[in-house]
């Protein structure tokens, strides 16, 4: 399977924040959800892919091309959707086409007009009056009109109502149906990822915590609940994000270790949301135990 995106050993340090050895790849024809709490490095990674941030070390290839050297060739086939519009508010859709058209060799005006119509976007209003969902659809229309083979969306669903989010998922599912095109979208609304994504990458503190198929992720972890005294010996070390309270505890663990548990403990499948929460809790616990020792 050919990878449309490949990131190897990406490092990028800012004041007080760093991406550390980030590596993951996305095959052609699939959707990857890119998740992690705020500040985990999702946007920095995306900015690095787009060569908007200068990377310290590592290699990023898009369509097999180098993200730094071949950035112009890459952008020809790349569609980008950010959570806010990067175009002037007082233009209408026709004037926006005039702005974008010169940048792309393969611009297709018919396709643009057809998309605008299909997405139900008004042609007489300036985009400043567009709702958030309309702006997002406009940017997708632009991407589709220059025949982008890879779409990167940064937090496309934040601030969208459920109907608009559902529409977006529809558009993305249709987009990748031909098996040639891919989507990378970052989000913290994990139910969107849970449903539609083929692959998931979880970033945590600038590092890749998980990358792989979504099914392996969601089948790979369970949430354990019960009374603390029922935890068999040797199991507690395997618990992630242990949270004890007066009447019991809850924690996450790898499904493969679940057979070590006694019957008194309840387990259920972990959602991506829960996985993110327990990763963060584990982190806090580790930090707390370090300060305790000092």
């Amino acid at each position: 399977m050919e990878n449309i995106l490949e990131i190897k050993g990406l490092n990028k340090a800012y004041d007080g924040f760093a991406l550390k050895d980030v590596s993951f790849s996305l095959p052609r024809g699939f959707i990857m959800g890119f998740v992690g709490e705020n500040g985990s490095g999702k946007t920095t990674t995306i900015r690095s892919i787009l060569d908007m941030a200068k990377i310290d070390s590592g290699k990023i290839s898009v369509f097999g091309l180098d993200s730094v050297k071949d950035t112009i060739a890459i952008k020809e086939k790349l569609g980008v959707v950010f959570d806010s519009l990067y175009i002037s508010d007082n233009l209408n859709v026709k004037q926006i086409e005039q702005q974008f058209k010169p940048f792309y060799k393969e611009w297709n005006s018919d396709e643009y007009a057809a998309r605008i119509k299909k997405f139900g976007l008004p042609t007489d209003k300036s985009v400043g009056n567009f709702s958030k969902g309309m702006k997002m659809k406009l940017m997708i229309a632009v991407a589709l009109s220059h025949n982008a083979e890879f779409m990167i969306l940064d937090e496309p669903t934040s601030g969208l109502d459920p109907v608009a989010r559902d529409e977006l998922l529809d558009i993305l599912a249709e987009y990748i149906e031909d098996e040639k095109r891919s989507v990378l979208f970052s989000t913290h609304i994990t139910s969107d990822v849970e449903r539609i994504a083929d692959y998931v990458t979880i970033l945590h503190n600038g590092k890749v915590w998980y990358t792989g198929t979504k099914d392996e992720l969601t089948e790979g972890y369970v949430v354990v609940k019960g009374a603390e005294e029922d935890i068999p010996s040797g199991v507690k070390e395997k618990l992630i994000g242990f949270h004890g309270y007066r009447n019991g505890f809850d924690a996450m663990m790898k499904s493969e270790n679940a057979e070590m548990l006694s019957d008194e403990l309840e387990t259920e499948k972990a959602s991506i949301d829960e996985i993110l929460v327990y990763i963060a809790k584990e982190d806090r616990r580790e930090r707390d135990s370090k300060t305790d020792k000092v």
Partner: protein, 123 residues
């Protein structure tokens, strides 16, 4: 073919779809050699991962419910297919086991259970 996904169910999505397709094939609600939607189509229609639908079709093909024709797609296996027949017999045996256990739990003798079964068949 009718497929419904319950998002709030604990049963994984791939299992939900597999069960529904199996049931419809076993109950004869599908035609022999009926073409199934492609992996990508099904993923798009249900708004789920193509990896999940790939797994569904691979599992069903392995179990003999459907057959894969290279370059053409997936089809409901012919009824005379040995694997499918075996599955159906298996399903029947499971159902009969349930009948016997439930009957005995209700205090029926084996003769009475057989009698009840015969009566049902005549209806």
């Amino acid at each position: 073919m009718k497929i419904i996904i319950k998002n709030k169910s604990d049963v994984p999505i791939y299992e939900q779809i597999e069960e529904q397709i199996k049931t419809q094939i076993l109950e004869g609600k599908t035609e022999e050699n009926e073409q199934l939607p492609s992996i990508r189509q099904l993923a798009r229609d249900l708004k789920i991962s193509a990896i999940t639908t790939t797994r569904v079709y691979n599992d069903l093909a392995e179990e003999g419910y459907i057959i894969s024709v290279t370059g053409k797609g997936f089809f409901v296996a012919p009824r005379n297919n040995d694997l499918l027949r075996e599955r159906m017999l298996c399903e029947m045996e499971e159902a009969m086991e349930k009948v016997i256990v439930t009957g005995r739990n209700a205090g029926l003798s084996d003769k009475e259970i057989i009698g009840a079964l015969k009566k049902f068949m005549e209806e």
